[in-house]
Symmetry: C2
Subunit: 339 residues, 2 copies
DNA sequence: CTGTTAGCGCTTTCAA
DNA sequence: TTGAAAGCGCTAACAG
């Protein structure tokens, strides 16, 4: 059996309360006692049992992170940001996978509640938030990231999807691009809806209404991007520029373009939301909209901790939705095409 | 305050012991009582407090996963496999990040111990296992994945790095490739060391000793792959084929090749360890060695649970090191070069 | 400054 | 088949 506070107390010849005070660095303890106790702790290699501690204090100093995909670079980078920030405050992170399913999302949340996490950060698996409503009942501090969930109100950290897209397209329009294609994601998810809105808004300012055949929607995965770019590229004539709604579809689309470079009548210029490790890889000229991914996580963690603290002190502010700014990034090396 | 077993007991007019028995589906409880208790549980929306349960039972049904990088597709896919398997057995996963630092690795392990996890799965941050020795003292069931750690003996799940590489190179040699370059990772990590060994072994069977200038070692990240491929490509003449020791360096190297396609005297054929989402993206002809990534995780979870059970029943088998087989994958679409 | 004591929510003998 | 009671390891009044 592991060594407990009792063992330490006995060997140090003090009460368990004293040991507890030393552990929690209670100031009103004599230096002599403290040193003696610390010595014993060292000697016995005692480690607090945070299970017991949590049972008493009703706080676990643990928060849950719910992602729709565990091997998704975007969400995991957000998680990284969350962890960085949490850690500075002595909190820990449990990462759970909802597998893009609202049902599993609820399952995982129940698990996290059972584990008595102090709060959760959720990248919702779907645009509807009905299944999250019970969190309000439970009173579990919650922050959404990346996506909003209809019918569920809570703190949230997002980026300026519409504005970011608007700016990118606007930039290209000013440079003379006019013939656009659009590769969209699942519009039941707020980011994809907002990006589409930004796209349309920029075009309409220039009096352009995109050709229906040039607008495609898929899921948000690599294969989907590949397939949609193929469809666009096979049109006669194909669009001269294509906006792609996220990183993974950008990768897929680029894959298609690179494979078929020789066969295409002309270079297709690409603009894409997200700028991550491989955005620049493929050598297709592009303009990307970078999200501050780590920052999203950091901010979400901060908001959650504020929420947790405020709940403890009974001064809960109303839910806040924060939008972080995006940034345009030009990838045009070795390319004759100017964005 | 959350509803407890006591509230349920009171409303159902039974003792807490009875409620506990219902929760844990103890057979010797009358159907009538059970139904009544379940009704109250439903009505009150009672959820067990797994903190309290763990304190009593000394098992948390939680295992920790330690990864050197949280936004790393490879390790996160392993984690996914772990989670899939754990879940079937009612276990949960806490993912922690060692940030490629042995010190942080120890910190995170202490945290996990404090959280009373039943076991840990570790992708070690370094080739030396000295800092892990204390786990033996603690008696925490441990499984290593992907990498071994010198001086620390435990269960482990790896792949046949040397053999996989050997087979790939051997295949290419038979097809007439002879002029090889090598892009290696950190050889203090077992997988990179083993892959290098496999490379050398295949060549030596054909009586070839690689030119020193053709053999490069870096860390295992994208940038490193880019830089080393640049060095190789700028040799006169450059190697005709290059073996790259992992996915991320493959991506970086490919980036270099695509960007400089026009400038290169000839197509450089690429062989690479790992086959993941983007291995096929760049349109550079290649042969890759696919690891069963999810399977690594699944197997590690199984081994860990066996270890946990066996410890509980006092029949611990000796540590086992399992090597899973790899598989060759040919990516040659749109390429004139035949692997 | 330190000890005593009473639980946190649950499980589990031991009795009945 | 059920209940009473002890206790998991720790913390936090309350005393002293």
């Amino acid at each position: 059996m592991a060594v407990t506070i009792k063992d330490v107390a006995k060997l140090a010849d003090v009460s368990t309360a004293t040991v507890s005070r030393v552990i929690n660095s209670d100031p009103r303890i004599s230096a002599a006692t403290r040193d003696r106790v610390l010595g014993v702790i060292e000697k016995l290699n005692y480690k607090v049992n945070s299970i017991a501690r949590s049972l008493k204090s009703n706080r676990t100093c643990t928060v849950g992170f719910l992602t729709p995909e565990i091997a998704n670079e975007f969400f995991m980078t957000v998680a990284q940001g969350v962890e960085n920030s949490l850690r500075e405050r002595g909190y820990n992170l449990i990462i759970c996978n909802s597998n893009e399913s609202p049902d599993e999302e609820v399952e995982r949340l129940e698990l996290l509640i059972e584990k008595c996490v102090d709060g959760v950060i959720i990248a919702p698996s779907t645009g509807s938030g009905e299944h999250l409503r019970f969190l309000e009942q439970v009173g579990l501090p919650t922050v959404l990231v990346d996506r909003l969930a209809d019918g569920f109100t809570s703190d949230a950290v997002l980026v300026d999807n519409a504005t970011g897209t608007y700016k990118a397209i606007h930039h290209l329009l000013k440079r003379g691009h006019t013939n656009f294609g659009f590769i969209g994601g699942d519009v039941s998810l707020t980011p994809f809806r907002e990006r589409y809105e930004g796209f349309l808004r920029a075009l309409s300012e220039f009096g352009i209404h995109p050709d229906e055949a040039h607008v495609k929607f898929g899921n948000y995965h690599v294969d989907s991007g590949y397939a949609m770019m193929k469809e666009l590229a096979e049109l006669t004539p194909p669009p001269a520029s294509v906006f792609i709604s996220n990183y993974f579809m950008h990768i897929g689309a680029t894959q298609y373009l690179v494979e078929n470079r020789a066969r295409l009548p002309r270079t297709i210029f690409v603009a894409s939301f997200d700028d991550m490790a491989l955005s620049a890889v493929a050598g297709v000229p592009s303009l990307t909209i970078a999200q501050p991914v780590l920052q999203i996580g950091r901010r979400a963690a901060e908001m959650l901790l504020e929420r947790i603290d405020s709940r403890a002190s009974g001064t809960a502010p109303p839910p806040r939705i924060e939008r972080l700014p995006t940034r345009l990034v030009f990838h045009d090396r070795n390319s004759k095409a100017q964005p």
